[in-house]
Symmetry: C2
Subunit: 343 residues, 2 copies
């Protein structure tokens, strides 16, 4: 194993020609005689020559590598996004370094530094819940590194973004319940702070308004941890405090599954007695009984689009042409399953 690594030099020496000529021959320059070209290419193949990427990086000041920072890998949504990014990057000759912030601002800053020092050609991020327009994001931009934010973004950062319209998505979900005959709809919402929890709540409210259903703040339950257990707990409270509720719009599928579990336990029939719709289209939603209606977020596509936006910016940077950041809004869709069927 490990024969001498083939380099331009090695090839040149064996053929007794100059390194320059070897380089030109391999890069298909026209000013190389057919004969030398062939000799070079043959020998290169024989020695399994591949350009040393370290040297190429140094010369071109490009690493053909991008960085990705997300709150956590172990999450159905994020792993789908990663999938989209990796695939799209590879198609375009880029590799992806993935890092996690674990929802910690501190860690996120560290990861940004790592990537800057690594001199990646661009960075894609979904912010931790703690982050806003902090110095670390600024330093990415100040370093002239192309940046794309997706999903959990900050409105304060001037860069490209890939998002869904949470308000509209929630609106659609609630209208779906209404179209199925629900008249008294509760909402289990996410925590106070995150923008998407706020937007989904607003969408819920709007849908009620538009359909002349009075909004009742007592029917809104607020998660703190966004867990399965909270789902069960709120389901209990809803049914005890407001037995007339006939539909629930839940911030995310995991919590909705908790709701279903509780209703299963106490033998309340879904969708006959009460209809449930979740959000995010987790895998388990199609596997649980009854199958959960939900809102699909195009996570794979979000990854692909994020990379493509980044690529565009990277190309502009390379060509030294101006680039104006863009925001891409992706379509969501209501997935109708058993938990919202008509009786």
């Amino acid at each position: 194993m490990v024969n001498q690594q083939a380099t331009l030099k090695v090839i040149a020496e064996q053929l007794k020609i100059s390194i320059t000529t070897v380089s030109k021959a391999l890069k298909g320059y026209s000013d190389v005689s057919e004969k030398t070209r062939k000799a070079v290419i043959d020998l290169a193949k024989e020695l399994q020559y591949t350009p040393n990427s370290f040297a190429v990086n140094l010369r071109t000041k490009e690493s053909k590598t991008i960085g990705l920072i997300i709150p956590e890998v172990v999450h159905h949504f994020f792993s789908n996004v990663i999938n989209g990014i990796i695939a799209e990057a590879e198609k375009n000759g880029y590799l992806v370094i993935t890092l996690q912030s674990n929802e910690s601002l501190e860690l996120e800053k560290k990861q940004v530094d790592l990537l800057i020092n690594k001199r990646v050609d661009g960075i894609i991020m979904s912010l931790s819940n703690q982050s806003n327009f902090d110095s670390h994001i600024k330093s990415i931009i100040n370093n002239g590194i192309p940046l794309v934010l997706f999903d959990k973004i900050s409105k304060l950062v001037n860069c490209s973004k890939v998002l869904i319209d949470d308000q509209k998505a929630a609106f659609d979900a609630v209208e779906h319940l209404i179209s199925k005959g629900c008249k008294k709809i509760a909402h289990i919402r996410g925590p106070i702070n995150p923008q998407n929890a706020i937007d989904r709540f607003l969408g819920y409210k709007k849908a009620l308004e538009k359909n002349n259903i009075p909004f009742d703040s007592k029917l809104v339950y607020t998660c703190t941890n966004v867990t399965f257990e909270e789902g069960k707990q709120f389901a209990k409270e809803i049914i005890e405090q407001h037995p007339e509720v006939d539909g629930i719009f839940v911030i995310t599928d995991l919590v909705a599954v908790g709701v279903l579990a509780y209703f299963n336990e106490i033998q309340i029939k879904v969708p006959q007695q009460i209809k449930i719709i979740g959000f995010s289209n987790w895998f388990m939603s199609q596997v649980i009984t009854p199958k959960l209606s939900t809102v699909d977020q195009p996570s794979l596509e979000m990854g692909e689009q994020s990379f493509n936006l980044l690529l565009e910016e990277m190309v502009h940077k390379k060509n030294k042409t101006a680039f104006v950041p863009r925001t891409v809004l992706l379509k969501t869709s209501v997935i109708e399953r058993d938990s919202t069927q008509n009786n």
Copy 2:
């Protein structure tokens, strides 16, 4: 933005000293006067100097980057492993490039080439179902690149490995059913080829033998796609063909969830009429009704150990000391939940 990038040269020129001295000062060499050291360090800080990693890579022939190839990112088990690897790598100053084989040998080969050309310092892989000791694996080893295989390994490859003892794990799962009173136990197994499906089947058989339960090949059902739907289908067949079966050991949780779904549908009570145990401890298993008993694979730890083994080998390589590949076996444990409770 983008002032002149700070380099050793820039610092040297500003301080009117040599590049060499700057380098030494920054690297804490002893043969630099306190005064120059301070001047250098101060200016470096002011200019926000960070070494150009491209140049460092070229000089040191190290990238402080490792490659990871797995069948797919969107998979609870693998995303946990990734998590472990990334975290452990970061602690040790390494970054991780992740690639997917999508269970395709063709693609896997391509990914290996990409990583070799990238000159990563080491590679961690879980093989696609199609792979064995193929040329691409050989070429990793021939290139002298440290390699660790985990989970889906090939016995033919001489490298470090991180595994669970599938046979024992399956044995334990089946004994768990037996301890709960099951006398007639079916097995829904994985496809014919993969080693872990074979081992789990053997564990099943052994547990029966040891407990004087006659093995009946008719009670073994073989998945081809390992899906939720197959679980439902086999549940149906089992109950129709062998209504006396009182326990099922299922190759993996996803399929087991399919089994549960079917029994829920036709109102067969789990665990009262029949007990089910899965494998892998997927997240959804604790969230479904009834909660699924299963075998926990320490996926996070598998990632951590994989990296640490790789690190060891990388260190040996750097020091040019011999390294003998090792295999680490990780402990699994039966997680007892509702689906195997006593009546």
